[in-house]
């Protein structure tokens, strides 16, 4: 039965949210411009009510869309194309924002929430700020409006509540049966079935949403001619945005590191660049705003940067969602036909903000004083410029596809393409910017709180410089003992030195601040975090090395490339090799139970018709813990196969890796690494290739005659025929009284454990049938061929194949933990600063100033 009501309700909510947003913007606009206080208040109340309606409608859209996904209403395109019946709840939640419409919705949801917070906390700025909010929300709501303008055949927005049959109008099934509902959806891309995909997008979109707050305050300031006052309420929100957006970006990087197998966390893909640039500019704007608060300079720069951040967020949205990047990004975007609408959205706020700024420019106060080279303002400003250039360098090549489209639109043609080797290209520039920032943030911090001259500065910097030098020399000594002299590259050393310098110089400031006023230490802590991140990046990328070296001296494949033969490790099951100082051994394929953490050995379970369920043959242990009882039916994820690889260090310490292969019939095969995390380095391993059991080549059957309890060899393993017994049912099928079936119990001694094979011999309706049993781990298949009652012997057929194998690639990533810890430190720095600036805001509010 089709569920029309929920979709219609959802669509109604979308339209309501769109209209309410416009109504709210209009009312707040009138309130801002109204002359009498009475009128101001009345319009303000109208605006607030309209925004409440809007926020309720947004919540309503989210709830209805989730109902559709949760209840598997596959008559809706969104549920059909992004989910299926077997996804667990947390991935059903991530299905919600897997599609473009859902991610617009997520963005709207956060902005609605932030709007409510502002209405409740900031009466003074409410009307002008919420005017901007209302407009932005109206634009976003229009993206999911899904309304066709009659007569024009022009569709505004793409609705998440569209029915599958409306999308696939030509599909024959819908022509013959419009009420057809598919039984199951096409599922979620296996790579996105990861816990980071449950929290990374909401974090990122909260970051996106929070850039709207400083932007709105800035426009409100320009509008009301309160050029100085907007900075203070905007600053804590800018810090909040910087923290959340930064966290969101890093979660994405961490997801890529854990899930994709390119061995890194950052790929300089246009989608990544699209968020990185606004974040950089946001950080730059935070610096100029702090400068302004302290010294009345850099107000104009703050206005430009705050506007730029929001416009860049819109620009990134345009780039990634309009289909412009179709030829230049590994992320395949489905073009929803929204490019025109996105361009209008971008243009409206870009030109709106520019025009407002130009009109007001002359009135914006600025100081004419020549800045001193020994002032903090000067050095922070230089740092801000470096950050801006850093962003510009990334923005430019990322925009090449948009530039081509633009030139094409003007009637010319441009065939420029982004640089082919993105990682190399971006790194060679960004590296030097990073060095400059590290040095500036080390030196700049000392100007932060007192007047400086050359001598004073020299005195302050001497100690940190000497400590840095000592630390640098010590680390260099360690590096020399680990790496060859060519690997110790001058560029890496410069990064190392400047990053150490910023950590130590800011550390000194932090120490003195902790004694006097710890609340002010946010900047120092954040800069220490940045320095640590640089050190972690330098080592983990610059000194990443392949450790899965082929040390057998044999080629795996003559046709494969030399690199493939050299840098991969071929592991046959239960045959130990050595790698990076470990004894390494492939222990076999494993399955993932759905409701318990742990892994299942396929030898311990019986496969049944339903691919999502298996039955335990015996009690199943995992890490000394009992997971399941014999005969339990266990739900599994059939797409996920893990490959147990055991590492034993020279000291005898054991660690087990479970790299994964996901085989999704519609999405293809994806390999994900598993990582052994040590304090000083990560061992990162993923599967490159493995044997396909369906294409196994079996040897010619060898037939032997054995008596009960007699030993024999099967694929070089000692086997013994324990007994042969009569059985009366096979699986769930009961046999007739006229049928005869016997089961042989053959015990085979493997390298580590004994396996039991139970081939069956059956005579039914005078026909002989044989059900062989395979011991996967040993590459042996045993068949009970015949029974010889006259001699008391049994014929056993032995088939053998090559044993299971995997080809593993493994890297060592030194000091990558310093990067992750550095990001945490950076976040703590942001946190301290947010607390400080919010306290300032509260004080001002209590004084009734805002």
């Amino acid at each position: 039965m089709m569920h029309y009501f929920v979709g219609d309700l959802g669509h109604l909510f979308v339209i309501t949210s769109f209209i309410a947003a416009i109504a709210s913007a209009f009312s707040y606009f009138r309130s801002t411009g109204a002359a009498s206080l009475d009128l101001k208040d009345q319009w303000r109340k109208n605006g607030a009510v309209a925004f409440y309606v809007h926020a309720t409608a947004v919540l309503g859209i989210c709830v209805t869309l989730f109902i559709i996904i949760y209840n598997h209403y596959f008559e809706y395109h969104y549920a059909y194309s992004h989910s299926d019946r077997n996804l667990p709840l947390h991935y059903l939640i991530s299905t919600f924002w897997n599609g473009q419409e859902g991610s617009f919705l997520l963005w709207m949801f956060w902005q609605a929430a932030l709007g409510l917070v502002l209405i409740f906390t900031n009466r003074f700025w409410e009307a002008p700020v919420m005017t901007v909010f209302g407009l932005v929300q109206a634009f976003l709501a229009s993206m999911i409006l899904g309304v066709v303008i009659p007569g024009l055949d022009f569709r505004i927005g793409s609705s998440p509540f569209i029915l599958l049959r409306e999308v696939m109008q030509n599909a024959p099934i819908f022509v013959s049966n419009p009420e057809f509902i598919p039984n199951d959806g096409t599922g979620l891309n296996p790579l996105l079935q990861n816990y980071w995909m449950v929290i990374h997008p909401p974090t990122l979109f909260l970051g996106f949403a929070s850039t709207l707050v400083p932007f709105s305050f800035c426009l409100a300031g320009l509008w009301l001619k309160k050029y100085r006052e907007w900075v203070r309420p905007a600053l804590p929100w800018a810090l909040f945005g910087g923290a959340v957006l930064g966290l969101g970006i890093l979660m994405g990087g961490y997801w890529a590191y854990e899930t994709l197998n390119f061995g890194g966390y950052w790929n300089w893909d246009p989608v990544e660049n699209g968020i990185y640039v606004p974040w950089l500019i946001l950080v730059a704007s935070i610096h100029t705003m702090i400068t302004y608060k302290n010294s009345e300079t850099a107000l104009k720069a703050s206005i430009i940067l705050v506007i730029a951040v929001f416009v860049l967020v819109l620009y990134a949205t345009f780039l990634t969602r309009s289909g412009v990047l179709g030829d230049s990004s590994v992320h395949s975007f489905t073009d929803l036909g929204l490019s025109g609408q996105l361009l209008v959205y971008l243009g409206f706020f870009l030109f709106g903000a520019i025009i407002l700024s130009i009109v007001r420019w002359k009135e914006i106060p600025s100081s004419d004083k020549e800045v001193s080279t020994y002032s903090r303002e000067f050095w922070i400003f230089v740092g801000t410029l470096v950050i801006c250039l850093m962003g510009f360098q990334v923005l430019l090549p990322t925009s090449i596809p948009a530039w081509n489209k633009f030139v094409g639109f003007l009637g010319f043609s441009s065939n420029m393409a982004p640089p082919a080797d993105q990682i190399y290209f971006y790194t060679k520039f960004q590296l030097w910017f990073a060095v400059a920032i590290a040095l500036l943030s080390a030196v700049g911090q000392f100007f932060w709180w007192k007047k400086m001259d050359v001598r004073q500065l020299g005195k302050e910097l001497l100690m940190p410089f000497i400590i840095t030098l000592v630390a640098f020399v010590v680390i260099l000594q360690v590096m020399v003992s680990f790496y060859s002299s060519e690997a110790i590259n001058a560029r890496y050393l410069i990064i190392l030195f400047s990053a150490l310098f910023t950590v130590i110089a800011n550390g000194k400031i932090l120490l003195s601040l902790l004694k006097s006023s710890p609340g002010l230490s946010g900047g120092a802590v954040a800069h220490i975090g940045v320095g640590m991140m640089l050190i972690g990046m330098m080592f983990s990328s610059g000194y990443s090395k392949v450790v899965s070296l082929n040390n057998t001296g044999l080629l795996y494949s003559r046709e494969a490339s030399e690199e493939y033969n050299r840098e991969n490790l071929l592991l046959f099951i239960n045959e130990p090799r050595t790698m990076a100082g470990y004894k390494i051994e492939f222990k076999g394929e494993r399955l993932e139970p759905r409701w318990k953490s742990g892994y299942l050995n396929p030898n311990d379970v019986e496969f049944i018709e339903d691919p999502y369920r298996v039955v335990a043959k015996r009690d199943i242990q995992y890490n000394g813990r009992k997971l399941f009882n014999a005969k339990d039916t266990i739900e599994i994820f059939p797409e996920n196969k893990y490959y147990e690889v055991q590492l034993v260090s020279q000291g005898g310490g054991k660690h087990t890796l479970y790299p994964r292969i996901q085989d999704n019939p519609t999405m293809g095969v994806a390999a994900s690494p598993d990582i052994k995390r040590d304090l000083s380095k990560d061992l990162y391993a993923h599967i490159v290739d493995l044997n396909d059991p369906e294409k196994a080549e079996w040897s010619k059957t060898e037939e032997i005659k054995v008596a009960a309890l007699q030993e024999f060899f099967a694929n070089d393993y000692v086997a013994v025929l324990e007994k042969v017994e009569r059985i009366f049912s096979i699986g769930n099928t009961k046999l007739d009284s006229a049928d005869v079936a016997v089961k042989a119990l053959i015990r085979v001694k493997g390298e580590y454990e004994e396996y039991l094979a139970e081939p069956i011999f059956i005579i039914r309706n005078r026909m002989v049938g044989r059900i062989p049993d395979e011991i996967k781990d040993l590459g042996v298949r045993l068949t009970l061929m015949n029974i010889h009652p006259e001699t008391g012997q049994f014929s056993i057929g032995i088939d053998t194949r090559q044993k299971d194998w995997i080809v593993l690639k493994a890297f060592e990533k030194p000091l990558i933990n310093v990067l992750w810890i550095g990001t945490l430190v950076l976040m703590i720095g942001f946190g301290i600063a947010i607390v400080r600036r919010s306290r300032e805001f509260k004080k001002m509010k209590e004084k009734g100033l805002e």
């Binding site: 090549p397 082919a420 494969a560 490339s561």
Partner: protein
């Protein structure tokens, strides 16, 4: 001259430097014939070629061959000028490869084969999907 003016000049110079460097490092979208000419004149820079997979009359993709080591494969691509070219790729087939309506290969010629170092796919938009899993 004020310090701010010096700063502005330095920033503009840096920005122009970035612009020039980007234009210099930028790759380009070309056809297979142009790419072949570039390679034969000794230009080894990676370029982009846009095209489609070769299909037979029934819309089935033809010409995909797995490599000997299973981790590579080759396929036949038709560029926007209609030229057919065998392309080899040293990595496994990307997910959704056969569903793509447009393929971008980044790489260069090695002899008569185009060796791709990266493949980008453009998949059909939802308003063009035709098939339902029944």
């Amino acid at each position: 001259m004020k310090k701010s003016h010096i700063l502005i000049i330095v920033v503009i110079a840096a920005a122009v430097g970035i612009l020039v460097a980007t234009a210099d490092d930028a790759s380009s979208y070309v056809s297979f014939s142009e790419a072949y000419q570039l390679a034969s004149t000794g230009n080894q820079k990676d370029i982009h070629v846009v095209g489609q997979l070769k299909k037979d009359g029934n819309g089935n993709i033809v010409g995909i061959e797995p490599g000997a080591d299973k981790v590579s494969f080759s396929f036949i691509m038709i560029d926007d000028n209609g030229k057919e070219q065998k392309v080899s790729y040293k990595e496994p087939m990307p997910a959704d490869f056969t569903k793509s309506e447009k393929v971008v290969v980044i790489g260069s010629y090695s002899g008569d084969t185009f060796v791709a170092s990266k493949i980008l796919l453009k998949c059909p938009s939802k308003y063009q999907e035709e098939k339902v899993n029944v």
